[in-house]
Amino acid sequence: MVTLTIDRGLKDSVYEQVAGQVRQLVASGTLAPGTPLPSVRQLASDVGVNLNTIARAYRLLEAEGFLAIKDRAGVFVAAPAVRAKTTVKKELQNQLSVTIARLRQAGVSHDELLALVEREVSVISDQPPEASK
């Protein structure tokens, strides 16, 4: 059973925690493409938050390509894109550059950075997009 842990004691808002954890679960392959997710109403009721909070997280994940929201059928995990769009790739590369620069500035060494990236990549599902379709 896949669970999310929402912690109101953290500085991240509930919608950021939901989005962040679903992102990780999809990237790691724990949530396979096509897996249905609870409706906005159901998840909002379980977490005990307003419908808009969960709707916001789902909309963000849909925009990022992690989820597919079909009006009547519900919410599903989306399959990874076969080929990255140039604009999306560039935008994310910029974000990565900023994150790496901030890590370096925060005192993380070159080797530590490489190890960090390697670890993050290793937890991502290596299933090719075509196979998971």
């Binding site: 669970t3 842990t5 929402i6 912690d7 004691g9 679903v22 909002a44 379980d46 005990g48």
Partner: protein, 371 residues
Amino acid sequence: MTESTLVNLFLIIRVFLIGGLLLALPHIMRKGLMFGVYIGEGTAKGDSASQLLHSWRHGCVLVMVLALGVGLGISAAGWPVAGNLTGTAVLLCSALALYLRLYAKARKLIPPEAARQAQKTVVSLDVGRSRGQPFARATLAICLITSLLLILYAVASYRVMPDLVPALSGTGPMSEKVFIDTIYFPVLALVVSSLFSLLALFTAGAKRSLRDGTGSYSAEAQDAFQLFFTKLLCWIAILFCALLTLISVQIVRVGLSATNWIGHEIWWAPGILVIFMLIGLIRIMRKYGQGGSFREYGSAETPLTGALADNDHWVLGLFYFNRDDSSIMVESRFGVGYTLNYANSTAILFTVTYLVLTIGLAALGLVRVLS
């Protein structure tokens, strides 16, 4: 058997039934919870918690002896009905006093980490867990349609009734037809059956408070309990609807002179309803425990989260009041079942509406019987 012996027998059965249920409560308690307080799974295994349970058992026996002593004493003085009512009142009031005493003691056992656990909420991403919702919706629809048809039947029948109808109460054989008497039981059917159906619907969608870390057993246990409790409420709603429909139709038929009397056999139906509710309660106590705690297995050692771990938003451990929680219903922290979130506008509207309707109908019934 004299009337006084029968009244005393009812008191003895009631005291042993309620007292027995109270005595059984510590056996079904969810690990970490004690008298409406989250004291943590570790503390629940300690000596202080054991002492509280010991006090509860002794207290319950004392409460039963006190209720029987007062009730039967008043009855022996020549007032059996007053003895029955006073004995029941003593039982309930002293049990509440015992609970509040132990609730206050349990609050002193709250560990510092409990506040941290209350900020966490573990939710499952499994879909289709609310398996009870379609059944609850169908029950609500059946009860509403049946009750509304029953009201229409009563209103239509009232118009063709003669001015003088056989009396259902009082000494005279005939009495004037009264609209309220004809419509009373159909309206009661609507109110009671819709109350239980709506409670079933809220229960089916009630918020779960899963255990931290190993949520799998915890989720399955709570799902199974939630489904059973929803179905139990649905069947109670259906049985109430059927019973009150039966009584309503018979009262109308008496008014229409289609039958002479509503029939003594009809009064067996409430007995069946009480037995059904009792069997449901015993099944919960034997098979599920508080909120399905008997099925938590290994996960019962991990800490609770959410509403169950939250010591700040419960009033006396019985009433949940949390403005930051959008849930209508959550699991109770004491006893079995679920409770409303009294900070939720739907829950407030539901409570006020049914309180007004119940008090109004009870008062109206009393006025009609006395007149």
